[in-house]
Symmetry: C2
Subunit: 310 residues, 2 copies
């Protein structure tokens, strides 16, 4: 048995990402000990029961004591509070990272609480499902996905390399990026898509002329694809929009401009322009499939093997 | 071997829907003979080669001669032209139907060309994938999906029942609906979702600060779900937006209003309102899964078993 990469890894937060990390750390033997903290007693009990962690702790400070790697897996809105709590308990030389979908805010909120000698390097695995909680995790979540690290210019090179090696051991490819650029890239690839998915589902739910039952029955015509990401964790996503406000508003502005142009094409009956756009968008899908970021099976592999109910 | 439901079924148009119908008609033995027409020689050749049809014809009029059931499976924009061509060739007593995503326009465009004694009853199977063409079809496409029939008040009851029985034999559940109501229901469950998917993919493709390569690499963060339906057939969708203009503009107006309200919540930092919306939308997803219109597997069953490329 080779020496594990870390003596002790601490997970602060045991939801989808935290629990998936537990699974893959264990499977790959990346840590001698996995300690964990979750705010709720129910999650802590479940984490022990299903064997996510070796030890579970009532406070984040207890969980991170003696840890070589601390991974903060909480909604980005509370990262600052967590940093304030764990700061004094961190071991000198420890690496502290996070998994949040917004990097500028997290760096600003956590950095002031990091003691000297601790290596604070933010990260973001581009992976997830619409599920939440300690039972939603699985070891292969990060496989063949990208993880973006956003080290600040003064970050320790050796610590960055260790963190990169950790994510690679979890199955990910790793990219380094400027935090502000990250927030803009994620605004268009993640935050605005979630926002418009939440929005169309909300619009459909509020209609009077079309019943909720009709929306549900005929959702296979396109609508249901949006409901998947609109079922994602509400608190996590609330925090994303509150903390990446500038990036989201910038990209949302462009989306709305483009939508207005599309609306005008429809009103004017400009079939040529519509067809040109609809043809252009096909190539992006091909690019995503060629890049291994989605599967080529039609209709996400749904093949009518599910039974409709009235 | 029981008597088939029809002596001869004619398919005008052999794309995804037409070819899927060929497969299921054959599997279920619903017709003594399947004749087909497609505009392009390449499609006609392919249809014979892969055994979709028993006979293939250069003109739609030839294909429908002597047919008991004629199913027009072409983009809604050309339904009127097809009706004009086939009208004189239709057998008295034949049932003529279509599969288009817009019903008001199709009824208006086709009805004037239907000779007396022919039963013209529009239909719309709520089923499809992002693929197109004669090789995209498969026999189970309609299984456990809804098919909406929109008979006009003067439609022959026995013919409606026969058409309903046909769709049930293809695996679908059948609902009857007023054509105008259909167009409103589909505007929100299908047309506007496709429009905003095309739009976000277009917005992302046009950005300068974020490269196309970045959009593709990090698409697993949400964006890729939209690219599936934005890869649908451009001509079919152009015609949907041109022919259901009123329904689409009405629903798009509501979507945009709601999006503006959401934008304001973000600008004002109204976390409570955001969280309330994001919580509400989860229940629609549950409704769709409970109704058997989508699968409960997280992330559409993607489990990292695909390989990323630089």
């Amino acid at each position: 048995m080779p020496e594990p990469m870390f003596q002790k890894v601490a997970l602060v937060g045991l939801g989808l990402i935290g629990s998936s990390l537990c699974h893959v750390i264990r499977r790959e033997g990346l840590s001698g000990h996995i300690s964990g903290h979750a705010r709720s007693q129910a999650t802590r009990d479940k984490a022990l029961e299903i064997g996510l962690v070796d030890s579970v702790h009532e406070t984040a400070a207890e969980a991170v004591a003696d840890a070589d790697l601390v991974i903060v897996c909480v909604p980005v809105g509370v990262c600052g509070d967590v940093a304030a709590e764990i700061g004094p308990a961190l071991k000198p030389g420890a690496i502290v990272t996070d998994v949040g979908s917004v990097k500028g805010h997290v760096i600003a909120a956590m950095t002031p609480h990091m003691p000297p000698g601790v290596h604070f390097i933010c990260g973001h695995p581009i992976a997830g499902t619409e599920e939440s909680g300690p039972e939603a995790g699985f070891a292969s979540l990060f496989e063949n996905r990208w993880c973006i690290l956003t080290p600040t210019p003064d970050a320790d090179a050796a610590a960055c390399d260790r963190l990169e090696a950790f994510w690679k051991a979890c199955g990910s490819s790793v990219e380094r990026m400027d935090p502000q650029h990250h927030d803009l890239v994620l605004a268009i690839t993640s935050h605005v898509p979630h926002l418009i998915a939440y929005n169309i589902v909300g619009t459909a739910a509020d209609m009077e002329e079309v019943t909720r039952s009709e929306v549900i029955k005929y959702s296979a015509a396109g609508f249901r694809d949006f409901t998947r990401i609109a079922a994602s964790d509400p608190v996590m996503w609330r925090d994303v929009f509150l903390t990446n406000r500038d990036g989201v508003l910038e990209m949302l502005g462009r989306f709305s401009e483009d939508l207005t142009a599309l609306q005008r094409m429809i009103r004017n009956g400009d079939g040529e322009a519509l067809q040109a756009l609809f043809t252009r968008t096909r190539s992006i899908r091909r690019g995503i499939i060629d890049a291994g970021q989605d599967e080529a099976v039609p209709d996400f592999g749904r093949r009518g093997d599910i039974k409709p109910q009235e």
